[in-house]
């Protein structure tokens, strides 16, 4: 019902350029605390319990599949010559890309003073962390003998060998592990004042102790806030080049090789835009139901959803431009191998993976263009349905890049098709269970919206604010 009280698209009164409030219905600070903290206090609703059991069992597919994989071998996957990288790397790039929206919201929108980020950054950052966890599983187990994965780290060992720092695969190890660590730190530092809120509201001794330890003894003194804010600003400042570097480095796995279809300089910006595009789609996929279930309409307003839809149409258009430019350069470069890979492996109706290429084109380039229409951005159900296309399309993008480039190399005698095995499918399916399971636990145990930042964007948070309803001025 509070949807209707939102005035976002109501008739403009007076100044048409007047800013819409970031928190609707003049909510007080006390209301914000009570509403967000209330989400994780008291009993969780029955749907949550059912959902957590279902996703928990679903997530068990991951350890089961990995146990089978370790005890049998990577041969249980469909990856084989000539397609030695297939679903595992597709899924890795897919999940790592999803994380990028969280860092964009938490870091880049923070630096650019986009205050609307405050009510979505916590959940988006949580998604970043859970997505990177899902992503890391695939390359770690694709190395084959996972118990030897520590060789990737530069640790002195009995064999006196060191990693090859010139390899893009090692760059990936450093990029992804740094990204995970810094994202986790950034997320946790953002959580500290809110954990203190939960501590101060806690009634039970045990709860107070656990949240008290997690809150590090935060007191909210201004002498603490000034260091805190500076640290947060710097973390945002270093996370910005970090997030841009991570997907650039992931794209180097392909771009620095000499495989037609991979060997292109457009990959880093194209991957980064695609990651943000796919990430926002996932943020909307999870936030829209969470908003409806927990009644967060006053904090995640239509303006927030509208802004995210606009970012999707922007990044989707960048991705579309990159697809076309990649195609154009393949032809214009005059490199017969490159053009052949595009024409006969991807776009030609008789190409074996044309269906994947055109699904990607439709989902990532055509479907999000609907967000140019205001109606599509304001109808919440329409938004939720439209963002499923980028979710699917971004998976297909990685599949197209990896599998269609590999399945036909320079020698027609070694051409082959890729068919996923049941274990490919079950492990990928299982990571969705893991992702949702972790997200549900997050909703239960941590404040899903940044309480202190939402308070700080209220008009009365300004020390020079004058209450229009108060009698006389205070100073």
């Amino acid at each position: 019902m509070s949807e209707q009280s939102s005035t976002y698209f109501g008739p403009a009164k007076g100044n048409i350029l007047e800013r819409r409030p970031l928190v609707s219905n003049n909510r007080s600070m006390g209301w914000i605390t009570a509403h967000i903290a209330g989400m994780l206090e008291g009993k969780m609703p029955m749907w949550w319990l059912i959902a957590v059991v279902i996703t928990g069992v679903w997530a068990l597919l991951v350890p089961l599949e990995l146990t089978y994989l370790v005890s049998t071998g990577v041969g249980i996957w469909g990856s084989n010559q000539p397609v030695a990288w297939a679903w595992d790397i597709t899924n890795f790039v897919f999940w790592i890309g999803i994380g990028h929206a969280g860092t964009l919201i938490s870091a880049i929108l923070f630096l650019t003073r986009q205050k609307w980020r405050t009510s979505i950054n916590r959940a988006a950052e949580a998604m970043t962390i859970f997505a990177v966890i899902c992503a890391g599983i695939f390359p770690a187990f694709h190395v084959g003998r996972v118990w030897m994965a520590w060789y990737l780290a530069p640790i002195p060992n009995a064999n006196a060998i060191w990693p090859n720092f010139k390899s893009p695969l090692l760059w990936d190890v450093f990029a992804v592990s740094t990204y995970f660590t810094v994202s986790l730190i950034f997320w946790y530092i953002g959580l500290v004042p809110d954990l203190a809120t939960i501590r101060d509201r806690a009634t039970g001794k045990f709860r107070k102790f656990i949240y008290g330890v997690a809150a590090l003894g935060w007191r909210g003194g201004n002498r603490q806030w000034r260091h805190y804010e500076k640290a947060y600003l710097i973390l945002a400042g270093i996370s910005t080049p970090l997030v841009l570097s991570v997907h650039s480095i992931v794209s180097f796995d392909f771009a620095t090789s000499v495989i037609p279809g991979w060997h292109t300089t457009i990959f880093p910006p194209y991957f980064v835009a695609g990651a943000i595009f796919g990430g926002f789609a996932m943020v909307l996929t999870l936030m829209i139901p969470a908003r409806a279930i927990f009644g967060l309409h006053d904090m995640i307003t239509r303006k927030h959803i509208d802004n995210m839809a606009k970012i999707i149409v922007l990044t989707g258009s960048i991705v579309g431009y990159a697809y076309l430019m990649e195609l154009f350069i393949a032809w214009y470069s005059g490199n017969p191998n490159e053009w052949w890979a595009f024409l006969h492996n991807r776009i030609h109706p008789e190409a074996p993976y044309a269906w994947a290429y055109w699904s990607m084109m439709f989902c990532n380039v055509i479907a999000p263009q609907l967000f140019w229409f205001k109606w599509c951005r304001t109808n919440i159900l329409a938004v939720w349905i439209i963002v499923q296309f980028p979710n699917i399309g971004m998976w297909f993008e990685r599949f197209v890049i990896i599998v269609t480039s590999l399945h036909r190399d320079f020698l027609p005698s070694s051409w082959g098709m890729f068919v996923p095995s049941v274990h490919d499918i079950l492990l990928f399916f299982g990571t969705f269970g893991l992702f949702l399971f972790l997200f549900l636990l997050f909703l239960r145990f941590l404040p899903a919206i940044t309480i202190f930042e939402v308070k700080a964007v209220l008009p009365e948070a300004d020390p020079h604010y004058v209450d229009p309803h108060a009698k006389g001025h205070q100073h």
């Binding site: 600070m29 003894g217 500076k230 020390p463």
Partner: protein, 180 residues
């Protein structure tokens, strides 16, 4: 221990909003107090100036972290791939800046993040589970919607009755002695 022998940590006052707290902070600063702080549910814009606090030193430590990270990364990569374990890969030089830049960059970022967070915690004397202000029952509202100012008894200008009166003059309510 007898009740009246308990040490006093300081005197606290409660304020209803950021505007009152801001004015109070300016006046407390003008009164010459040194060991005091204002507490709020969110960082108040402009409060550092009102309290006369200098810029935070965290950025200096971040820079140190960046330099340490860059030096560590350079030494690690140069020593392992250029000196200790030179490996011929695709005819590339054993050590060159271009192919090692990504790892160099990532380690620099990682160490900067560690130093930033570490220095923030150290400068804030965190983590610290117990603090005397937590003994004041009203203080729990600091993370909700109330604003507080606390003047510590270790301040040279601290005087139980006078400080109490001053805080009341500034519009503080529930002015309370906080026990150690």
């Amino acid at each position: 221990m007898k009740e009246d022998q308990k040490k006093i940590h300081g005197i606290g006052a409660e304020f209803n909003n950021a505007q009152e707290l801001y004015v109070a902070a300016k006046k407390l600063r003008a009164s010459g107090f040194k060991r005091w702080d204002v507490f709020s549910p969110y960082p108040i814009h402009g409060m550092d100036d009102a309290m006369g606090l200098p810029n935070s030193k965290v950025s200096f430590f971040s820079l140190c972290g960046g330099i340490v990270g860059a030096a560590t990364a350079f030494f690690l990569i140069w020593y392992t791939s250029g000196v200790e374990y030179p490996l011929v890969v695709q005819g590339k030089p054993h050590f060159a800046f271009e192919p090692t830049f990504p790892v160099f960059f990532e380690i620099t970022i990682l160490l900067t993040a560690f130093f930033t967070v570490g220095s923030m915690l150290v400068l804030n004397f965190l983590p610290r589970y117990y603090h005397p202000v937590f003994n004041w029952d009203r203080f729990a509202k600091v993370t909700d919607d109330k604003f507080f100012a606390v003047i510590e008894s270790s301040d040279p200008l601290f005087h139980e009755a006078k400080t109490k009166a001053l805080l009341e003059d500034l519009g503080g309510t529930h002015v309370t002695l906080i026990e150690e």
